[in-house]
Every structure is written in structure tokens, then in C-alpha cells.
């Protein structure tokens, strides 16, 4: 190992033979987030089998999602797509009466060129329920990018102006925060906010995290006038031309593009609020764009770091290798490097250097400040090659998908399932500890087992 020599980030692209979840998996968290929605995945048994197994026990809770399973007659166009979809959507309307039906296009609908965008408005008019079309297929996208395609489609449905009657009631966050208060009290609260152009945040997060991030901005006098998505489809935020938008997750580049190009919103390019460093940078960037002087951020960040100290002791000086599958990798690596880890490689399915620019700059800056070499960023990684590299580097922790976790553990390499970072609450100051809870768990577990001499559990010749 040579002495850490700070340098610019390097980018490479491999073969794209890597393991990740199919982007249709986004229905599993989006149907829960958007409470009055119904997700219809138009695909084959393969798609259904994946969802059924990946969602595990959630399947049994009568989910608001279903497969429109294509049969041979659909593929060979012996059946009429419009009539078939109408039949299924009427059944959904009858059984569940949702406020929106989201059609998720799959690889099959792409290949047979089903004109979903053309069919949807006609059917929408006929059955009286909005139909949103998102092409979240494995030909084009990986895992979390599924959410990106859905939110980009939803962005087109956000109202331009709040209807008069609902104007004050429109915003879900607002309603939550002014819950049970009189008009006068609300007016008093309004005065706590600085005078700034409207700000809408995009990205699906669990409600408690929405509340936390909104409060964080409220402390700076910044009012969040809406979230895309909101708790209900009927509460989609008002998007005014010239208003500001900011993303909370690194995989939302299509949504960002749509908001800028189609809805004429201005994007605040900031690092993402993951880790205390990321959260502070995110809040400060929003403040600076909206012309607000941030207060007390340094102390706030320091106080969070102080609370993380016991976990940081465990990972300081250790190395982490990201195989790459959910696009959270850059932000997580940046946070872990700030915690004192080194990171030889960040695998990532897709790297939007424009949307993630602030985050990439922040990563580079973090590496310089911590005096560690900048990681190699490998877009479209090749899992086989990565495993060879892991074998050579022997990192202290590999963040990887479930397909590789057990085989790596059996070879004495600590792993953490990357999927958990997608479902855990990791945003904002308060949840920084939860990230480290996940990251340190394999290290803590293996610390307690380390004297047993069982770290390699495969016969030698079976190595890699």
C-alpha cells in the first residue's frame, strides 16, 4: 500500500454483468407510500415471481398491487391490449376504488411495443380514474431507478395552481404541522418562515423522515410547500413555474430532468441528506439558494458526530468495498470516508454526473480532507471481476446484494446487504446512527465470534 495520495476521482465502466433488483421492485415501497394508489405491473410470470419472492411477507397483506400477467395471446396480439387492460382496471376499480392506477411497464411491454402512453389517456377518460404510466423495466434501469420513472411520470400530474377552495388545505406537510390549530395560529406560524420562493422536495421517504427533514428546514425558516410523492395521490404538490425543487435521493435524475424541462422548476443541486455531513451540506445549499443565512449548523453537526463516536471507533481505518446495485453508493461512501473508512471501489449501476455533481464534488473534497485515496467509481460493474478484486484486496466490509453475501461470508469476508440501506431510514441528522448501526453490525457480530476459528467455511479449492 502506497501512502494516501489525494487525487481526482476516476471513472470506469465495466460489462454490466452485475446483480441487482429489477426496477419493478419500486412498487413495494411506493404502494405503501402513496396510500390511495394501485400499482398494476404489466408483465409476465417472471416479473410476478420476482415481486412475490422479493416482497416476502408483504404479499400476504393484500397489497395494492397486482400483475397483469401477459399470456401467449397477448404476445401474439390475438387479444386486444385495450380491451384486456380495461377489463382488469374495471375489476381493480370495483374491488379497491383507488385514486390512481399506476401502470408499470416491463421488458415484455417494451419488446412487444405496447403503446401504454397512448392507451392510458383513453382508458382514463373511459373509467374515470387517473392512469399514470411508468416504464420501469430491466432493459433500461436498475432497482431504485424504478422509483425515478414513477416519480417522473407523477411530476406531469402535479397541479400548477392550487384550486381556490383547497389552497390552504392542499399541502400534506403543512396540514400535519398545523394539525388542530386555528387559522390565527397558522398565520403566526407562517411568520416563522423566511420570505422565499416555493420549494418542493422530491423522493419517496417514510413519513417520519419526511417530518424530520421538513422540521430541519423549518428551523432555518424554510418552508417546504410540498413533497413529490405525497401521502396520497390527491395531495400531489403544486409545482409553480420558476419554483425551486431539491432531490433527497441520488437515483432521481429523470425526475429532476422532468421537473426542470417540463415543469420549468429550478433544481437545487446539493449533496444528499445522508449522514450528518450530507444533511448539513444539503440544508446549507438550500439555504444559500433561497437566500437564507443558515444558523447553528456547525454545532448541530458536531453534536451528531459526538453521538456516533462509539460506532466510528469500530470502523475507523477499515476499508469498505461497494459492489453497487442501488445508486446510494456515492453518498454512503462519502459518509463512511468521513467516518474514517477507506474505500477502494464504488460500484454503481448508473452514474449521472450532472445530477450527482454536488455529491461527487463533496466526495472528492471529503477524501482530500480525510487524506485518503479517492475511490475508483465503476459504472455498470462486472460482479465476477469484482469478486476477483475483493479476493485480492480483502476489504474489511463488502456492501453487496443478497446473491453474493452468503458466499462471501463463507470465505471469511464481512458483508452487509445493500438492500437494507434502501428500506432503512437513513436520511437526516437523526438517522445517521441507523446507517452506522447497519454498517457496523457485521463487524460487531463477527467480533463476538472471532475467537472461534470459524471464519472460513469453504474448502480451500473452492475459493472464488
Amino acid at each position: 500500500m502506497t501512502v494516501a495520495q489525494p487525487e481526482a476521482l476516476s471513472f470506469e465502466c465495466e460489462t454490466g454483468n452485475y446483480h441487482t433488483f429489477c426496477p419493478i421492485s419500486c412498487v413495494s415501497w411506493l404502494y405503501q407510500k402513496i396510500e390511495d394508489s394501485f400499482f398494476l405491473v404489466i408483465g409476465t410470470k417472471t416479473c410476478g415471481y420476482f415481486l412475490q419472492n422479493a416482497m416476502g411477507v408483504m404479499i400476504f397483506a393484500e397489497p395494492r398491487y397486482a400483475m397483469a400477467e401477459l399470456e401467449e395471446g397477448d404476445i401474439s396480439a390475438q387479444l386486444n391490449d385495450y380491451e384486456e387492460l380495461k377489463r382488469l382496471c374495471l375489476q381493480i376499480k370495483h374491488d379497491r376504488n383507488p385514486s390512481v392506477i399506476v401502470w408499470i411497464g416491463t421488458c415484455t411491454t417494451e419488446i412487444i411495443k405496447m403503446d401504454m402512453e397512448g392507451l392510458a389517456p383513453k382508458l382514463e377518460a373511459e373509467i374515470g380514474i387517473p392512469i399514470v404510466v411508468a416504464r420501469a423495466n430491466g432493459l433500461d434501469y436498475a432497482f431504485t431507478q424504478g422509483e425515478d420513472t414513477v416519480l417522473a411520470a407523477m411530476a406531469a400530474r402535479c397541479p400548477k395552481e392550487a384550486p381556490e377552495a383547497e389552497k390552504e388545505e392542499r399541502n400534506a406537510i403543512q396540514k400535519l404541522l398545523s394539525f388542530g390549530k386555528t387559522k390565527e395560529q397558522v398565520d403566526v406560524e407562517e411568520s416563522q418562515y423566511a420570505d422565499h420562493p416555493p420549494l418542493v422536495l422530491f423522493g419517496s421517504l417514510p413519513d417520519p423522515v419526511v417530518t424530520q427533514l421538513s422540521l430541519e428546514l423549518k428551523k432555518q425558516g424554510i418552508k417546504v410547500s410540498g413533497w413529490l410523492p405525497a401521502k396520497r395521490y390527491t395531495e400531489l404538490p403544486v409545482l409553480k413555474e420558476g419554483g425551486y425543487v431539491a432531490g433527497v435521493n441520488p437515483f432521481l435524475s429523470r425526475t429532476a430532468t422532468t421537473l426542470m424541462r417540463r415543469r420549468k422548476c429550478k433544481l437545487i443541486g446539493a449533496p444528499f441528506p445522508i449522514g450528518p455531513d450530507g444533511t448539513r451540506a444539503w440544508v446549507e445549499k438550500i439555504c444559500s439558494v433561497l437566500g437564507v443565512e443558515p444558523k447553528g449548523m456547525e454545532e448541530r453537526e458536531a453534536q451528531i458526530w459526538a453521538n456516533l463516536q462509539d460506532y466510528i471507533e469500530l470502523i475507523k481505518g477499515k476499508s469498505v468495498f461497494f459492489m453497487g446495485d442501488n445508486l446510494l453508493e456515492i453518498s454512503l461512501a462519502r459518509f463512511l470516508i468521513r467516518c474514517g473508512m477507506t474505500c477502494p471501489e464504488i460500484g454503481i449501476p448508473y452514474m449521472d454526473k450532472r445530477y450527482q455533481k454536488a455529491e461527487l464534488d463533496f466526495l472528492e473534497q471529503t477524501c482530500q480532507e480525510m487524506g485518503v485515496p479517492a475511490p475508483k467509481i465503476i459504472e455498470k460493474p462486472d460482479n465476477y471481476n469484482q469478486i476477483q478484486r475483493i479476493h485480492k484486496l480483502q476489504p474489511d466490509l463488502v456492501i453487496t446484494g443478497m446473491a453474493h453475501a452468503n458466499p462471501l461470508e463463507a470465505r471469511g469476508i464481512n458483508t452487509k446487504w445493500s438492500v437494507e440501506f434502501t428500506f432503512a431510514q437513513i436520511h437526516g441528522f437523526s438517522n445517521a446512527r441507523d446507517i452506522l448501526e447497519l454498517v457496523t453490525r457485521p463487524l460487531r457480530r463477527n467480533n463476538s465470534l472471532k475467537d472461534l476459528g470459524w471464519d472460513k467455511l469453504v474448502k480451500e479449492e473452492a475459493l472464488v
Partner: protein, 508 residues
């Protein structure tokens, strides 16, 4: 189009992958878009597999749609051949490749020119067959491929083994309790003085497939997987096969008697009657259980059975014939093989349900209100909703159905396991009713002195709403921590801000 929430049998390629990854040193390459390699997750998680699953995808993406995937597939096959030196690479089509209609056969031919190992295309159509049918076909295809290859090279061994011997056909990865059944069957064969010639596909090497004809006969324990290969071997080598599932005491005996008959017809001289009698009456506990008072209490209890052909049929017979339990409905999701199922269970149940629609089974269970259900994980959840106990007897299954401990369903030890499974389901149900009748475990109100949930602190409405969003099992802890935080700082009213400040302070 069909509106579907759940499916019992997976898509065709899963069956092919189950066969390929069961063999040693066989690699499957799926012709599939990104994300279709979910099989690797299932194998790694459910089977808790230590080795990397020998399945990779040759990714179908936009470029492939535009240009065709010829180069890519061929390159991927040749590359995998170099990297891992597998004996065989199975190119596996998926639903996507079924509609692209590329000439995969041709790619296989081209790749096999450069590859050291063998290459073949799994002959399965996504829209025509399901996971189970595809598994059966793929196994047959691989067996046929290596028999023909050996014959061409003149390497097919002559004659039979000296002592009676058997091939066990159909043990595979991700099969319901397959590993344990395999061990139990080997033990049973050992007890009967029969050599196990080959077990396929699990753990087998393709090089050994040429030895299959050396066995005296084939045993196919599962209806769904292995019959194709057994029939092929019968037609090629006049090898008899036995397809009686040795599950339950009566069927195990029937299977052993059939083995006896088969061996004796081939010039052996065996008599297993004493073995069967000794096992049944004294070694295995199942027959004695049927006679005991415990089992008497189960007489006439109503149950519903649902699963794959093998397990649903066998369990129905065990319940009705060996325990005197009233099977109101027996059903299978193997629609393609429904006649066999009807014939098997016809005399042992009132109704037969052939369906792969979980709603239909759920409705039937609700209508019948049985005392217990024996089904898949889906029926277990129906049972939970209706408060009816359920024993899981067939795939689809979860990780808890891959136990580490020894849990065969076949043979005499399997019969013991079935007794426990069935009996435990019922007693739990009975306890439930008793508790209901007598109003819980203890009718006296509990008096808590130490811990009190009430406090003098004021929670704002918003904070209370926020607290209610915290999952139930940690809510109490969050509440206590927040109140302690507030008390320490003399905060009288707890707002959302205080809640989160408390969370950060305690670092939880």
C-alpha cells in the same frame, strides 16, 4: 391478460436453473434483462448456500434489442468456459428471449466450437411450461445428451451392477425438504441392501450420467421431477422405474414391495416383508401413533389439503387412511397433471380442487372452516387470517421451510416427522378454543406496580400522532426515552422537536 397477485409454480427458467445448479460444475447462462437473476438470491438465501450460485446472465438491454444478442451470448459463454471450466454450460431462455425469437440454438453451436466444455440450450418455452415441467424436461435433456455422447464415443458401460442397485432421480436444489428426503432414501436403500448407483441431479457430475444404465432400476420419489428422465431410460435400456412416493407408512410399504417385485423380476431374490413389519410396528412411531389415544381425539376432524401433486396426494392419504381425519378438500396447483391427482386422492376426500388461483383456495377454506390446513405458505397466511392452524407441506416456501435439522418427509423417519407436524397443528388449534371458552390464561386482572405507562408529562397532539407512527414493539421504549429526556431538561410539554432531539441525544 390475467389479474394475478400470487403464483404457486414459478416461471420456466427457474426450473431449468434448479436443475443446472443442482449438478456439480454445471453453469447456467440466462438470456435475460437486468434483475432476472433473482434465482441467485433465492438459492443463496433459502438454501443458505456457501458457494456462488453458478448462474450468470447474458444481459438483454437496449443495444441487444437493436443489434441482436449473438456476439454477446457467444462471448459470455466462451468467457464463462474459460473462467470456471464448467463441464456443461446450459443456455437458459427466459420470457424475454421467448418473444425475441433469436436463434439461440445457433449461438450454442457457435459457442461450442470455442468452448472446452459442453454447451446446450435448454429446450423450454416460457409460455407453455411452468417451473416444474421445465425442471423435468431439462433433467431429461441433460441425461439424454450425455447418454448419447457416451454411446457415440463407445463409453457406455456394459451390464448391471453385481448387487441390486438404484438411481434416485429428482432430488434438486430449492426442492421442499429434498436434501433430507435424499438422506432418508439412501438410508432406506442401505437397509434394504440396495446400492445407490447415482443420485441426480443434486450433487451429481455430468461425467457420471453414462453410468445410469448400470442400476437395476430407477426410483422417482417426486411426481413433478424426474419422470421424463426415468421414461427415457426405460425406453432406451428397458430400465424399470418406480414412481410410488414413499411418504406415510402405507405408501412407504407399497414402494418397498414394488422394489421387491422389481428386483425379483430381474433375477434377484429378496423378501422385505419382515423389514416392513418390523419398521411399521416397532421402529417407526407413526403406526403406533395412529393407534394411540392422542390420535383418537383427531378422529373426524375436518381438514383441507393443498399443494403440489406429490405432497398434497401423499398427505391426503396419510390423514385419511392412517389417522382417520376427515379430508374435506384436497387440491393441487399442478393443473397440467390433474388426472393423476384425481385418481390418487379420489377415494380419500369429499372434494377435489384443481386450481392455481390462490383466491379460489382461500374462499374454499373460508367456506369449509376446517380445524387445520395443510398447504403452502399461502395457505398458512390464509390460516392466520381465519385463525386456523396450518402445517406447511409444499412449495412455495419461505426460509423457515429450509430447516438445518433433519426433517425428511419420506421413509419411516419422514412418517415420524409427519406425525409431529399434523399433531402439533391440531393441538395448537384445540388450545386456542379452550382459551377462548375459559376467557384467556388467567381471568384475574394483572396488577402492575413497578412500571406505569402513564406519566405527568404533556404530549402535544402532533407528537402523540408521531409517536403512534413508531412501530408498536419499540413505541414504549421511545416514549420512555423521550420522557426521561424531557424530565432531565425540565421540559413540560413534548413536541415533535423534543421527540427528535431526544432520539438524537440517546442515539437510538
Amino acid at each position: 391478460m390475467k389479474l394475478a397477485y400470487w403464483m404457486y409454480a414459478g416461471p420456466a427458467h427457474i426450473g431449468t436453473l434448479r436443475i443446472a445448479s443442482s449438478f456439480k460444475n454445471v453453469h447456467a447462462i440466462m438470456h435475460a434483462p437486468l434483475g432476472d437473476d433473482y434465482f441467485n438470491v433465492m438459492r443463496s438465501m433459502l438454501e443458505r448456500e456457501r458457494d456462488f450460485t453458478p448462474v450468470t446472465a447474458s444481459i438483454v438491454d437496449r443495444n441487444v434489442l437493436a443489434r441482436g444478442s449473438q456476439e454477446k451470448v457467444v462471448d459470455n459463454i466462451v468467457r464463462k468456459d474459460k473462467e470456471e471450466r464448467p463441464d456443461l454450460i446450459v443456455l437458459t431462455p427466459t420470457c424475454t428471449s421467448s418473444i425475441l425469437q433469436e436463434d439461440l440454438e445457433n449461438f450454442v453451436e457457435r459457442a461450442s466450437l470455442d468452448a472446452k466444455g459442453d454447451v446446450m440450450l435448454a429446450d423450454v418455452n416460457h409460455y407453455r411450461v411452468n417451473e416444474l415441467q421445465a425442471a423435468d424436461r431439462t433433467l431429461n435433456q441433460i441425461v439424454e445428451f450425455y447418454i448419447k455422447k457416451a454411446r457415440k464415443k463407445g463409453e457406455l458401460p456394459e451390464g448391471k451392477t453385481e448387487k441390486p442397485s438404484v438411481n434416485i432421480i429428482g432430488i434438486s436444489t430449492l426442492g421442499f425438504h429434498n436434501q433430507h428426503d435424499c438422506k432418508e432414501l439412501k438410508r432406506l436403500m442401505g437397509d434394504l441392501g440396495i446400492e445407490v448407483n447415482e443420485v441426480i441431479p443434486e450433487g451429481a457430475s455430468v461425467h457420471n450420467l453414462k453410468n445410469l444404465p448400470r442400476a437395476w432400476f430407477n426410483l422417482v420419489p417426486y411426481r413433478e421431477l424426474g419422470l421424463g428422465a426415468a421414461r427415457y431410460l426405460e425406453s432406451e435400456f428397458e430400465m424399470p422405474y418406480i414412481d410410488i412416493t414413499p411418504m406415510g407408512v402405507v405408501e412407504t410399504a407399497r414402494c418397498i414391495r414394488k422394489i421387491q417385485q422389481t428386483i425379483n423380476a430381474l433375477g434377484g431374490n429378496v423378501d422385505y416383508e419382515e423389514f416392513i413389519d418390523n419398521q411399521t410396528r416397532f421402529v417407526s412411531q407413526a403406526a403406533w401413533f395412529s393407534r394411540s389415544i392422542d390420535c383418537q381425539n383427531l378422529t373426524g376432524k375436518k381438514v383441507v389439503v393443498f399443494g403440489d401433486n406429490t405432497h398434497a396426494a401423499a398427505i391426503t392419504k396419510v390423514l385419511a387412511r392412517e389417522m382417520g381425519i376427515h379430508v374435506v378438500l384436497a387440491g393441487t396447483y399442478c393443473k397440467y397433471d390433474a388426472d393423476w391427482f384425481r385418481e390418487q386422492v379420489g377415494e380419500w376426500c369429499d372434494e377435489i380442487l384443481i386450481s392455481d388461483d390462490n383466491g379460489a383456495i382461500g374462499d374454499a377454506i373460508a367456506r369449509i372452516e376446517p380445524s387445520a390446513i395443510f398447504g403452502t405458505q399461502m395457505e398458512r397466511h390464509v390460516g392466520k387470517r381465519l385463525d386456523i392452524p396450518c402445517g406447511v407441506i409444499a412449495a412455495p416456501i419461505h426460509i423457515q421451510n429450509f430447516p438445518v435439522g433433519y426433517r425428511p418427509y419420506m421413509g419411516y423417519e419422514g412418517a415420524n416427522q409427519l406425525v409431529d407436524l399434523i399433531y402439533n397443528s391440531f393441538t395448537l388449534g384445540m388450545e386456542d378454543h379452550l382459551l377462548e371458552i375459559f376467557g384467556g390464561h388467567d381471568t384475574k386482572e394483572a396488577i402492575h406496580k413497578g412500571i406505569s405507562a402513564d406519566s405527568d408529562l404533556n404530549w402535544t397532539k402532533e407528537a402523540r400522532a408521531e409517536l403512534n407512527k413508531v412501530p408498536g414493539f419499540v413505541r414504549g421504549k421511545v416514549k420512555r426515552n423521550t420522557e426521561k429526556f424531557a424530565r432531565d431538561r425540565n421540559i413540560a410539554e413534548i413536541s415533535i422537536e423534543v421527540m427528535y432531539a431526544a432520539k438524537e441525544a440517546v442515539g437510538a
